[in-house]
Structure formats: structure tokens, C-alpha cells
């Protein structure tokens, strides 16, 4: 078992996303994260899926997804050939006297302050998924009150395209 990122170009139609997620539950694959949103074309969405599975299952997932009528293209995003980012919003409890310290720390880590309340601050952090995790660890000792992550989104690096190493399957 290992984690894989799959990128799917999907027709932007009612039920299309449901068909993809249904296929995963139906065939017993576990989705770690799923991010979906618009692309450069209004009629197409892009899904970025993170799954933990064997190579054999990954092949099955790709093949089964290709059979969905709304799925246009399925590509595995290999870590070395993809740009992957994630956004996290983290509300951290903090007493007034430690605010300055926390804000300074977060700025060094590259986070933005999105909101400040009486006893808590919400940070916004964008980065590679491992950086998001590192930031989470960094602020954890203060007390994480609420946290939400978008799940990773990814694109192939144009530099990797030039090398042309990435196999992808068109449907």
C-alpha cells in the first residue's frame, strides 16, 4: 500500500462527481482527500484524489474510472513530476499575552493571519501538503480549536512534460 494522487478531468455535469465517488465506495477504495473545482474551461472540472492503495488497485481505479462516461482523462500525479498544494485554515487558541509570539512564529512559517478573536487566531496556510502538516505541528502546542484542509490539488509540472516521462491514459 502507498499513497497516490490521481488527477481527473471531468465533464462539469450534474451527478458527475457522484459517479466518481460512488465508484470508489462501491469498489472498496478509500479516499483520503478529494478536491474538486473549475478549470480553464467552464464545461470541465478537475478532481484531485488522494488514495492509499496498492499498485494493482491503482491500476484498477484508473481503468474503472475511464469507463465513466463523464470522465475525460485520468492521470496519476507522481510526486516528483507534480506541483501539489493544499490550503488549511487553523483556529488556534491563544491567550492575549502569547498572541505576539504566535503571530511571529506563524509568519516565519509562512502563514497568514485570517482573523483574530479575543482568545483565538485563525491562520491561513498554503503550501505543500507536508508543509501544511508541519505548520499544524508547529501550532499544536498552543491548542488547535478547529482545522480544515482543502485536500491537495495538483497539476503536472510543465518541466516534467518536457521530459515526457509521465504515462497517462486518455479516454
Amino acid at each position: 500500500m502507498s499513497a497516490h494522487t490521481i488527477s481527473v478531468r471531468l465533464e462539469n455535469r450534474p451527478g458527475a462527481l457522484a459517479r466518481v465517488s460512488q465508484l470508489f465506495s462501491r469498489r472498496g477504495y478509500n479516499i483520503q482527500s478529494l478536491a474538486v473545482g473549475p478549470t480553464e474551461r467552464p464545461d470541465i472540472s478537475r478532481l484531485t484524489l488522494r488514495v492509499d492503495c496498492s499498485e494493482h488497485s491503482l491500476e484498477q481505479i484508473e481503468k474503472q474510472m475511464h469507463k465513466l462516461v463523464n470522465v475525460l482523462r485520468v492521470t496519476e500525479l507522481r510526486p516528483d513530476e507534480a506541483v501539489e498544494r493544499e490550503l488549511a485554515l487553523i483556529t488556534v487558541s491563544v491567550a492575549t499575552d502569547r498572541r505576539a509570539e504566535l503571530v511571529a512564529l506563524s509568519q516565519v512559517a509562512g502563514a497568514q493571519v485570517a482573523d483574530i478573536g479575543r482568545d483565538a487566531i485563525t491562520f491561513e496556510f498554503v503550501g505543500r501538503p507536508d508543509q501544511v502538516e508541519a505548520f499544524e505541528e508547529l501550532v499544536r502546542p498552543y491548542g488547535v480549536r478547529e482545522l480544515v484542509r482543502t485536500g491537495r490539488v495538483g497539476l503536472r509540472r510543465p518541466s516534467a512534460t518536457a521530459r515526457g516521462a509521465q504515462p497517462s491514459v486518455n479516454v
Binding site: E11, P14, G15, A18, R19, Q22, L23, R26, H56, E59, Q60, K63, Q64, H66, K67, L68, V69, N70, V71, L72, N170, V171
Partner: protein, 575 residues
């Protein structure tokens, strides 16, 4: 372009698609479309008595004709009653377009009367589905629906049409092309893969073809026969594939699997090369996967890439349309065998030896009518007939005996529910087959349990003049379940006894306007069956037979082929 209602457009679309017959039952949400049927169409509508029946009829029609079957139902319970046949078509790759009415667009999502999320409920069991809420989309959707159902690996689609769409007026144009950028089933075969396959076949000492239902779906039977003949390849043929290679062909070793022959299972077990063609390594064929064909390399031909390597790794995957693939393969094999001439003599002699030593067998007993005897009598009767005989079955022991004992010489002459194992398939499927093959005698070999699930369709058979012969292999039990209880549950026969007392099948037949016959002993069999075949209307033959007979051989679920259970007294498994 013509101005018309959505409902009329549905029928014009069916006509454009060459649909001859549709099976269904009306109701509120589909009423406008039935009104359009009343206004006139070349599509024949067959009124079923249950939507499940309509769906299986459409399946039977599709399987017998090779065309897309069409079933129509209303929203809510009409749609849910179609779920079983849609699932059946999904499992057996039967091309089916299911059309359901839906509540008006403005009521969707409100739990309106008879509103059910039909596309949601069927999502895991269709190739694709559409909910139509805009009449302008209707022609394109119907065109796409037929295209998706029949191309690539065939299967069911659902079109759910809101009632107001059926009532809306618009300018109808039927598109020439489909607009489905994500639907591109393979249409060619990789030449290198074919060459590799041919070389592996040429070099194999103990090859075996493993042909399944995909060969029938692909209309590739002639190509398969050519390959078998030219390369002298022995074959096993699955339940779903029965008829794709003549049962009388000397190289046809019949069905493998749980109730297949010993020789077919031994052949797979000892093969050094398995050439899977339109078959999918179903667990009822493989048993324990790790012990299945343990010494063999696998070549897997399939239109569906996702089947290749799903259960068993294929050393040589060949994805593409089978008709093309097999035709090209035969040529490649001829070229390859010109270089390496394999000596298949010992292997073919071995297979022959097994076939002689381990035929299907059952013990006759004085005064007891064995179910197998009834099926042999049907087989022999069919052989004497001038017209073609097309068989359908239910699910259970009778189905397995039908698979073992019937001889099917032509494609699409054996129509059964394989993947889903749907009890109740046989009678309605036979009605659908008759609609496709009015020239043939259509015989449903049914179980008493199965028959009682859908026998109301005898009314359809009678009134629509689609006569069928239903032969009820009446053992008084849910026999296959009883067999498992006897073998694996210490003879605790929980809730499997149907009795021979109720119903009286012959009387039931008469009540439906069909001829009814009762057979209680072997000497009554031949006459009753012949009379049923010649009844000139639908007929039911109640064959009361041994309640205790079990179906052998049997590879228990999850076991290896060598762990096959045989009837008492059978010779042991060869090493």
C-alpha cells in the same frame, strides 16, 4: 425538423434507433409517453405484468437478437421494480435502455408522490444514466443512451424523463452523431500484443481457450470457431458463453467452474497457457483464485480493459473488440505455428481421456424421476425438431443441469442469468426471446422456486401471442439452497421446502390461458414435452421429480478445482 411533444420525440427516437419492440408498464409519470404510443408508432409495445418482467423480457430480447433491449416504466415503484433487471444486465453485459418517467421538474427533490431518485439508485449498476429536465436535451440523450448501451462492453443505461419534459412541445431533430467526449471504447487491437499472444499459443504444450459471454456479445463466434479449428485449440466455454462454440465440436470441453465438468476443470488446472476470451475469471469459475490454473500463463482478450488483470494477472493483455482480435489472432497463429510446430498430441489425448473417464453422470433409481432425465429428454426432443430451439433458465440446480446436459449448437440459443443469478429470470426472458425469434421454439427450463417469482408473465405470453414452453423442474424445494444445507449445514433444511402440494402448476397454466401438463414418471415425459412443444400456445410442464437429487460435480465455493466433490462412487481425482 418537426414540431412535436417530448413524448412523441421519445418514440421517434426509438424508431430512429431501429427499436422493434419495447416492454413495459404505464403509470402516472410516464403516461404522456404511453399517450404517444396510442397516437401511433412502429414500435411494438408489450405490456408486462411486473416491471421486473418487462426488464427481463428486454434482456431476453437483447440476448437473443444482439440488439438493444428497451424497457419502460413509471417513476417510483416502476423504477424500483426495474432495478433487478438493470442489475442483471449490468452483471451479464446485456445491452439495455431503461426508460423511466420522473415527477415534474418543479417537484423533483420534494418527495413528491412516486418520486424516487432513479438515477441515484441505479448509479452503481448502469454504464451511464441521464435525468432529463429539458426537452431540448431529449433527442441527444436518447441517441447517447443507445450508443453507450451497445458500444464497448455492452450493458444497461437508464434515461429518467420528467413528466413535463414529455409534455413539452419543441422542434425535434434527431442528431446524427453523439456528443460524448469521455466515451471512447477501444476499436482496435495492439498488433504487438497479438503477435506475442500468437507466439505464446504456438509455443504452448497445454493451451486451453477459456471462452465466455463476451464472445457472444461481440458476435465473434465465427472467428472463435476459425481459431479453434485452425490452431487445434481445445476450449472450455462458460455458462454465459454456452453456444459461442458448438457443444458438439470435438474441441469443446464445455463449462468449467463450480458445476462444470471435471474434465474442463482439470484442463484449466493442468494447462500451461490459458487464453481467456470475453471471460472474466468469475469466482464461480475460478474457485480459489490462487489455485486456479496454477501452472498457466494467461492471455486475456477483452473489450473492457478493467477486466484484464482484475482477478488474475495477464502476462499478455489484449484489449479491444474480440471480433477483430480473434480474426487477426487466427492469422498470426497460423504464421507463428509455421515456425514452431507444437506437438499437442499428448495434451489432446489427455483431455480426451479425462472426458471419457469423467462424463456427467447421475444414478437413476426405480420409480423416481430424476431432474437430469427431464433435461436429457428436452435435449433429445430439441434435436428432433426442425425449428431452432432457444433455451432460457432460472437459477439453481435446474440451471446447472441445463448447462451440463443441453447441447447448444448455435450462438444466442442459451440465455440465462449468470452474474446476478436472478431467480425469476427464465419466464420473462423467454417471452422477450420469443419477440426476437418468433421462428424458434422458446423453452424456459425453470425451477419451481424461480417460476413462482415471475410466472405472472404467462399472461403476457398468452395475450401478446408470444408463446413459450415453461418446463418446471419441480423438486418441491429451493433445491440449490437445499443442496448447500445438506452438504455444508449438516442437513438443517431451514426454509427451503416449497412442497409438491402447492401450487398445481398445470392448473395455474390453464388459469393464464396456457396449456398445462403434469409429469410424474419417466414414461410420461416424452409425450408431455412433445405436446407442450406443439400446443400452439404457451404451455407449462410440471415435471415432478426427485427432491433429493444434488448437482455434481461441485467445486465448493472458494475451493480449488482439485477439491471437486463428486457423486458417491465416483473415481478419485487423477494426480
Amino acid at each position: 425538423m418537426a414540431r412535436m411533444l417530448g413524448s412523441d420525440a421519445i418514440l421517434r427516437a426509438l424508431e430512429h434507433e431501429g427499436v422493434e419492440v419495447a416492454f413495459g408498464i404505464p403509470g402516472g409519470a410516464i403516461l404522456p409517453t404511453y399517450d404517444a404510443i396510442a397516437r401511433g408508432t412502429t414500435v411494438r409495445h408489450v405490456l408486462a405484468r411486473h416491471e421486473q418482467g418487462a426488464g427481463h423480457m428486454a434482456e431476453g430480447y437483447a440476448r437473443a437478437s444482439g440488439r438493444v433491449g428497451v424497457a419502460i416504466a413509471t417513476s417510483g415503484p416502476g423504477a424500483t421494480n426495474l432495478v433487478t433487471p438493470i442489475a442483471d444486465a449490468w452483471m451479464d453485459s446485456t445491452p439495455l435502455v431503461a426508460i423511466t418517467g420522473q415527477v415534474r421538474s418543479n417537484l423533483i427533490g420534494t418527495d413528491a408522490f412516486q418520486e424516487i431518485d432513479a438515477t441515484g439508485i441505479t448509479m452503481p449498476i448502469v454504464k451511464h444514466s441521464w435525468l432529463v429536465q429539458d426537452v431540448e436535451e431529449l433527442p441527444g440523450v436518447l441517441k447517447s443512451a443507445f450508443h453507450v448501451a451497445r458500444t464497448g462492453r455492452q450493458g444497461p443505461v437508464l434515461v429518467d424523463i420528467a413528466k413535463d419534459v414529455q409534455e413539452a412541445e419543441f422542434d425535434f431533430v434527431y442528431p446524427d452523431e453523439v456528443d460524448l467526449p469521455g466515451w471512447k471504447p477501444p476499436h482496435k487491437v495492439h498488433p504487438r500484443q497479438l503477435r506475442e499472444a500468437a507466439r505464446a499459443i504456438a509455443e504452448a504444450q497445454r493451451p486451453i481457450l477459456y471462452a465466455g459471454g463476451g464472445v457472444l456479445n461481440a458476435d465473434a463466434c465465427a472467428e472463435l470457431l476459425e481459431l479453434v479449428d485452425s490452431a487445434h485449440l481445445p476450449a472450455v466455454v462458460t455458462l454465459m458463453g454456452k453456444g459461442c462454440l458448438p457443444d458438439s465440436h470435438p474441441l469443446n470441453y464445455g463449462p468449467p467452474g463450480m458445476h462444470g465438468s471435471k474434465y474442463a476443470n482439470f484442463a484449466l488446472n493442468k494447462a500451461d497457457l490459458v487464453i481467456a476470451v470475453g471471460s472474466r475469471f468469475d469466482d464461480r469459475v475460478t474457485g480459489k483464485v490462487s489455485a486456479f490454473a496454477p501452472g498457466a500463463k494467461v492471455i486475456h482478450f477483452d473489450i473492457d480493459a478493467a477486466e484484464v488483470g482484475k482477478i488474475r494477472h495477464a502476462e499478455i493483455p489484449v484489449v479491444g473488440p474480440l471480433k477483430l482480435a480473434l480474426a487477426q489472432l487466427a492469422a498470426e497463429v497460423r504464421a507463428a505455428t509455421a515456425e514452431v510446430a507444437p506437438d499437442r498430441g499428448p495434451w489432446l489425448r489427455q483431455l480426451e481421456d479425462w472426458r471419457e473417464r469423467f462424463p456427467y453422470r447421475y444414478a437413476k433409481a426405480e420409480g423416481v424421476l430424476k431432474p437430469q432425465t427431464a433435461i436429457e429428454a428436452l435435449r433429445d426432443l430439441a434435436a428432433t425438431r426442425e425449428e431452432d430451439v432457444v433455451w432460457t433458465t432460472g437459477v439453481g440446480q435446474h440451471q446447472m443441469w441445463a448447462m451440463q446436459y443441453l447441447r447448444c449448437e448455435t450462438p444466442r440459443s442459451f440465455i440465462t442469468s449468470g452474474g446476478l443469478g436472478t431467480m425469476g429470470y427464465g419466464v420473462p426472458a423467454a417471452v422477450g426471446v420469443k419477440a426476437a425469434r418468433p421462428d424458434a421454439t422458446v423453452v424456459c427450463i425453470d425451477g419451481d422456486g424461480c417460476f413462482q417469482m415471475t410466472c405472472q408473465e404467462l399472461a403476457t405470453a398468452a395475450l401478446e401471442r408470444l408463446p413459450i414452453v415453461a418446463v418446471v423442474i419441480n423438486n418441491g424445494w429451493l433445491g440449490m439452497v437445499r443442496q448447500w444445507q445438506e452438504l455444508f449445514y449438516a442437513e438443517r433444511f431451514a426454509q427451503t421446502h416449497l412442497t409438491h402440494a402447492v401450487p398445481d402448476y398445470a392448473q395455474l397454466a390453464e388459469a393464464y390461458g396456457c396449456a398445462g401438463f403434469t409429469v410424474e414418471s419417466e414414461d410420461q415425459l416424452e409425450d408431455a414435452l412433445a405436446a407442450a412443444f406443439d400446443a400452439g400456445r404457451s404451455a407449462v410442464v410440471d415435471v415432478r421429480c426427485d427432491p433429493e437429487e444434488k448437482c455434481f460435480p461441485m467445486v465448493p465455493a472458494g475451493a480449488a478445482a482439485v477439491d471437486i466433490i463428486e457423486a458417491p462412487g465416483e473415481e478419485a481425482v487423477p494426480a
